[in-house]
């Protein structure tokens, strides 16, 4: 898959589902030595923009602070704090590296980061942990939008591409479509990946309907 996977030690693999259990070396590294962590909580004006997503009750909170270079339109600095398990912490740390490497990420590119991109750089996550890492990109988008708002670039603000189904985790219809495309065809499987509706069950009927729609679209009609 990626370079990181090659170096992985033997893992505990479920023979039926192919799901893995242990964390990759990259994940462990970022978990035990988080990069770009915010030390002291900053004064209001220290950073250019800020984004937060999740709630302590639903298990993950990610908060992101950015410094942006207005001339080059790139991210200069990416600081973060995360409440959550190992994969949540490692994926925010990895995202911070992705956003600041090679002179900083272009803002347009930052808006397009997907959870899958982070997963790839981490060398994958244990199957049951994928859902813990899906908030990082959303926190980054929230921060970038905050920057656009502050600098009055209103036209550049991207409201999540499609309808937001769960205001808590900010999971959108597109996220559901992608999850189904990647093989998650039941509500449980989609929840494993996206955390949709964990703190907001009202959206679940809609989500189920969407899953059925995309499942039929991509895998043909259900055999009754």
């Amino acid at each position: 898959m990626t370079r990181a996977t090659k170096h992985r030690k033997p893992d505990v693999v479920n023979p039926r589902t192919g799901g893995t259990w242990a964390y990759s070396r990259t994940v462990r590294d970022h978990f035990f030595k988080p990069r770009n962590l915010l030390g002291e909580l900053p004064e209001r004006a220290t950073y250019d923009a800020e984004g937060i997503v999740g709630s302590p009750a639903c298990g993950d909170v990610m908060r992101v602070w950015l410094r942006v270079d207005p001339k080059t339109d790139r991210i200069k600095e990416f600081k973060w704090r995360t409440f959550g398990c190992a994969s949540a912490i490692a994926s925010t740390s990895m995202l911070s590296v992705m956003a600041t490497e090679r002179g900083g990420m272009k803002l347009d590119r930052a808006l397009a980061v997907k959870p899958q991109d982070i997963l790839k750089r981490l060398g994958g996550l244990p199957t049951r942990k994928v859902h813990c890492s899906v908030l990082g990109d959303k926190a980054l988008r929230a921060a970038v939008n905050d920057w656009f708002k502050k600098t009055e670039q209103y036209t550049r603000i991207v409201v999540e591409g499609t309808r937001v189904l769960d205001p808590n985790t900010k999971v959108t219809e597109t996220d559901i479509e992608e999850a189904v495309l990647e093989g998650a065809t039941t509500l449980e499987a989609v929840q494993q990946r996206t955390k949709v509706g964990v703190g907001y069950p009202q959206c679940l009927p809609d989500v189920e309907e969407l899953i059925r729609f995309y499942r039929e679209k991509y895998y043909g009609p259900d055999r009754a």
Binding site: K9, I52, S55, C58, V61, F83, I89, V198, G199
Partner: protein
């Protein structure tokens, strides 16, 4: 007394774990190995992903316990030499049968019951299933209501859930914030339709010990029976039956079924330094249960299948040893636990004790550390060789947090930071000092990563709806419709 997990430097420290196990399985000649393995495994345990051997401080005895070398010695002949089928009539079979009967004797002595009242199973989960489903299905004509406490083990709750689909009515008996069942509610729920009440003896997450005898008295009063007499068992079959899961309690508490007044009692081997893969159900004479499995005539058809002879032999021996060492081991562990508890509360700010302080197993400590997530702390502790457990949702296959901690009315935010320490034979004062030395800096580090800063004085009740966007309590915290 069992093996101690002091960091002893031995020759075996450098031998890889898998090699040690191979020695046991393929090379029976080295008779000393089992004991050395039992000692060595907790010492030089290496997981698949870390190369360096590290200090092992095992504080998860509620998850499982190492096999006592004495127990292993008792089991040893029954793997290969004495391999007979206990149902066979010739000498080899009779000797296996005899070994099972001796084991039953040891267990029935501990439980103060008749030998014929013990049914061996493949696990405590199976025993729980057999008790709940077996009793429910066999007594379906008499009624369809089952009362189970909200903090029962999943083996009971899942069985109840499956029964719901068969038309049974399941009533959840709520608990207070210390995890004690609300006895007033039990009186309210008991009615003519009730066929089974299930309340666990000691909880496996918070260690709360339920007043089983008191609950028994209420059920007996409802049945119209006289008070519990400590000697001489009852054989009548008046409903409802009373089941209790004593898996965690067996090591530390008196499990005399006459004193407890229970009709069904679940036991497990591997929680009392016995082998895995063996559990037992005490079913009082006269209690009708239908089997889950069908086969030959073993165990009076209540649990057919060739008996796991070495497992049963080991189980019996471990139960005997548990009873023998009960008093001094309880006192020793309570002292260590209290030291750990005091130390943690002194050195770590913003922390809560979950479950009650008083009616609790002597080896249990469950705390919620605010602002950090249990799984993250678990892994940091693992890096230091400390093995503990958490009730956080991140640690479960499902996305839902511990049902026990939820039932206590704890806010979901707190449950995420819950950590369970359970002490056992191998725990020494040294281990406790080690944990008290390593834990506070790790908590500090994880708190510096966390953006959350909860105020423990602000929320006393279940999560405020405003913690959830949409302003509604999430589905797993909402009260189920009666």
């Amino acid at each position: 007394m069992g093996p101690r997990t002091v960091c002893r430097k031995s020759l075996l420290d450098d031998v890889p774990y898998t090699y040690l196990v191979t020695l046991v399985v393929y090379d029976k000649v080295i008779t000393n190995i089992p004991e050395r393995v039992a000692r060595a495994v907790p010492l030089c345990y290496n997981d698949a992903t870390s190369a360096m051997p590290k200090r092992m401080c095992y504080l998860d005895y509620a998850a499982t316990t190492p096999l006592n070398p004495e127990v292993f010695r008792a089991m040893e002949p029954y793997f290969a030499e004495e391999f007979g089928n206990p149902s066979s009539l010739y000498g080899l079979g009779r000797r296996a049968k005899l070994a099972i009967e001796e084991s039953i004797k040891k267990i029935s002595d501990t439980l103060n019951c008749r030998p014929g009242e013990i049914i061996f199973t493949g696990s405590a989960t199976e025993a729980d299933n057999l008790a709940v489903m077996g009793a429910a299905r066999a007594n379906r004509r008499a009624g369809n209501k089952i009362i189970a406490s909200a903090i029962e083990h999943k083996a009971v709750l899942s069985a109840c859930n499956a029964l719901r689909a068969e038309g049974f009515e399941i009533v959840e008996l709520p608990v207070d914030k210390h995890g004690l069942v609300k006895i007033g509610d039990l009186k309210k729920y008991l009615d003519k339709k009730t066929i089974l009440v299930s309340v666990m003896y000691a909880n496996n997450e918070i260690g709360t010990v339920q007043p089983i005898r008191e609950i028994s008295e209420i059920i007996r009063k409802f049945r119209g029976e006289p008070k519990i007499k400590d000697q001489g068992s009852r054989t009548g079959a008046v409903l409802p039956f009373f089941h209790s899961d004593a898996v965690q309690a067996l090591q530390f508490l008196d499990c005399d079924v006459q004193k407890l007044g229970v009709d069904l009692l679940t036991l497990s081997g591997h929680k009392v330094y016995g082998p895995k893969g063996v559990g037992a159900l005490y079913a009082r004479r006269g209690v009708k249960i239908s089997p889950l499995n069908y086969g030959g005539g073993q165990q009076e058809r209540r649990r057919p299948g060739t008996e796991n002879v070495p497992g049963i032999v080991g189980f019996g021996e471990s139960v005997r040893l548990a009873k023998k060492n009960r008093r001094e081991e309880s006192a020793r562990l309570k002292k260590l636990r209290d030291k750990l508890e005091k130390g943690i509360f002194r050195n770590i700010p913003r922390i809560l004790l979950t479950g009650g302080k008083t009616s609790r197993l002597p080896n249990f400590l469950n705390v919620s550390i605010l602002d950090i997530e249990g799984e993250a702390l678990l892994l940091y502790l693992d890096e230091k060789g400390i093995a503990v457990s958490t009730g956080s949702a991140c640690n479960s296959e499902s996305l839902e947090p511990s049902h026990v901690l939820t039932a206590l009315g704890l806010p979901y935010e707190y449950i995420h930071g819950s950590i369970r320490f359970t002490l056992g034979h191998g725990t020494t004062e040294n281990d406790i000092d080690y944990v008290l030395h390593e834990l506070p800096p790790l908590v500090k580090k994880l708190r510096s990563i966390s953006p959350v800063n909860l105020n423990p004085n602000e929320r006393k009740e279940t999560s405020l709806p405003k913690a959830f966007v949409g302003g509604q309590t999430p589905h797993f915290l909402r009260k189920k419709k009666k």
